[in-house]
Amino acid sequence: MTALTSSTPARTERQYHVSWADAGPFLALVALLVIGFLVNPDFLSATNLGNVVTRSAYVAIIAVGATFVISSGGLDLSVGSMVAFIAGITIMFMNMMAPSLGLWAIPAGMAMAVAAGLLCGLANGLIVTVGRIEPFIATLGTMGIFRALITYMTNGGTIPIDRSLREAYRPVYFGTLAGIPVPILISAVVASIGAFVLYKTKYGRKCAAVGANEDVARYSGISVIKTRTIAFVIQGVCVAVAAICYVPRLGAATPTTGVLWELQVITAVVIGGTALRGGKGHIWGTVAGAVILELIANLMVLSDFVSEYLVAAVQGVIIIIAMLVQRFSK
């Protein structure tokens, strides 16, 4: 038996890791920018785009975490409430510390936020993995819990940040560094770290393996429980970072903070090319997805075609079309 080489030409056209699935959302993004420009030329103004991208930072940051959770085969519906909860306790903590620590209360509060995010994520993760409860239900439960806690803490009202801290903290949302708004920088850093972890570390591989086929992962000596729990913890930390950026924007946490963000976050992840049933995650696609969502909302306001009553309908239609564009671009 000869002729092996001739009869089976090794198919190695895809040598480098240029992920085509990641290109879809970017195409959708470009299409949206073009449509936006046609609808209203102001759409492409630096201020407007700057605003929109800055605004998308929260969802992007949270969605980076969600990419891990979803990639590992989980789902987290509690992120919106968790933002509110963490923002609330962070503000309370900063206000409490302000008299003694002065402006150092801000970094202290930030550290506290990250710790809180970590614990919230851990709680979610353990309920899902050790408790073996469907993530949808488990995090729907904790969503109610976090939301109720922030409502309780605020008595249903607002927790504003101490006036003495407000000005010093403001630049975290409103400031720029080398001309780029700080939230954009933060989300770029978070996404880069996320991409690094997901694509370049062993943990990233485990995540994808657990999401792609739990049994295979288990047989390969990967701890499904550990991997998935860590994904939820990463999600928690991302939520904390988002909360840290969020607080200076309005200087307060309220029971309506972050309502329905979970849906936006999941949509961003899916538009970004990560399948909800788990498997390979696409961090940069996720970020593009977050920007797409914010752009669609922005376009709704900037265009004059749509009755205020129908905005949600048009958004729904555009999201479906964006998904179709993504599908066909493959």
Binding site: D42, G156, G157, T158, P160, T254, P255, T256, T257, E308
Partner: protein
């Protein structure tokens, strides 16, 4: 035997309803402490359907002597409240009237149309009868509808023009974004009206960030303490406020209890006006301890 007063109100899902819950609970606590033979039970519901459920639950398990209700919507709650009335319960309706006015024994109402009207009047006045406006509205409900109607009816025929009107769901974040977009879309805006103070907070941040100077007025509504404080401080952009005090629920509960234990019956209609809060009278409306 204790007399039972049930209080059915919306869940605290934004600032104003949070104020309602706060005042209702405060009233319940005070009354339960002060009058040993009265029990006030407060129940919140996150939607009209849930409120109907809550009414059924409250009346199924015990006889209610009085019900104080802030209905989600008039249409949907009329029949259920009537059912309770038919069991011989004293009915106090707060804020939203029922479609059948004969059901209520006591009616304590704010005036949402007046909120819109008074704000509009002030704007017409202040802007000299002409100018470009943008409006942020809340969640599609009757409250929102009436406020917008009052406002639009009043500016009709004047030189004030509404450039844009969109929903921001009584949410500061959405209002912030929406205002940013308004600012990007319209190079010149004379005034902004957010029909609720939660949204006004977001609007003010967006205006502040933009550094724009063309916006002369940014008004809200409901009487949130932070905004009333601005009025007290003589803020140029927000010189007035229209109250729609959530404390009306407390008043209503007290009046209802007074009817139960007092000698003289308390019945009829109390209509709260929505007078402009100005720097002159703002202190009366300022409650620094309220969450709202």
């Amino acid at each position: 035997d204790k007399k039972v007063v049930a209080v059915s109100i919306p869940a605290a899902d934004h600032g104003w309803t949070a104020g309602i819950v706060y005042h209702a609970q405060a009233a319940a606590k005070e009354i339960n402490a002060a009058f040993p033979d009265v029990e006030v039970v407060v129940k919140t519901s996150p939607s009209a359907a849930d409120q109907v459920s809550a009414l059924e639950d409250l009346s199924a398990s015990r006889k209610l002597d009085a019900l104080v209700i802030l209905p989600y919507t008039s249409e949907e709650l009329t029949q259920p409240v009537k059912a309770i009335k038919d069991m011989g319960t004293f009915i106090t309706v707060v804020d939203r009237g029922l479609t059948d006015a004969s059901i209520q024994d006591l009616y304590l109402a704010g005036d949402n149309i007046a909120v819109g009207t008074n704000t509009a009047k002030f704007m017409i006045d202040k802007l000299g009868g002409k100018g470009d406006l943008v409006v942020l509205r809340g969640i599609p409900t009757v409250i929102d509808d009436e406020r917008i109607k009052g406002f639009e009816d009043t500016i009709k025929g004047t030189g004030l023009k509404v450039l844009d009107i969109q929903y921001a769901h009584w949410n500061s974040d959405e209002a912030f974004k929406l205002m940013q977009d308004y600012l990007a879309k319209y190079p010149h805006i004379d005034a902004v009206w957010a029909n609720d103070d939660d949204m006004l907070l977001g609007v003010l941040e967006a205006v502040k960030q933009s550094g724009r100077t063309d916006i002369k007025l940014a008004l809200g509504g409901n009487g949130m303490k932070d905004i009333v404080k601005k009025v007290i401080d003589g803020d140029a952009m927000t010189p007035v406020e229209t109250p729609y005090p959530p404390s009306m629920i407390k008043t209503a509960i007290y009046m209802t209890v007074a009817n139960l234990i007092g000698q003289a019956p308390v019945r009829g209609t109390v209509k709260l006006d929505a007078p402009l809060i100005t720097q002159a009278n703002a202190k009366e409306y300022y409650f620094p301890d309220s969450p709202f």
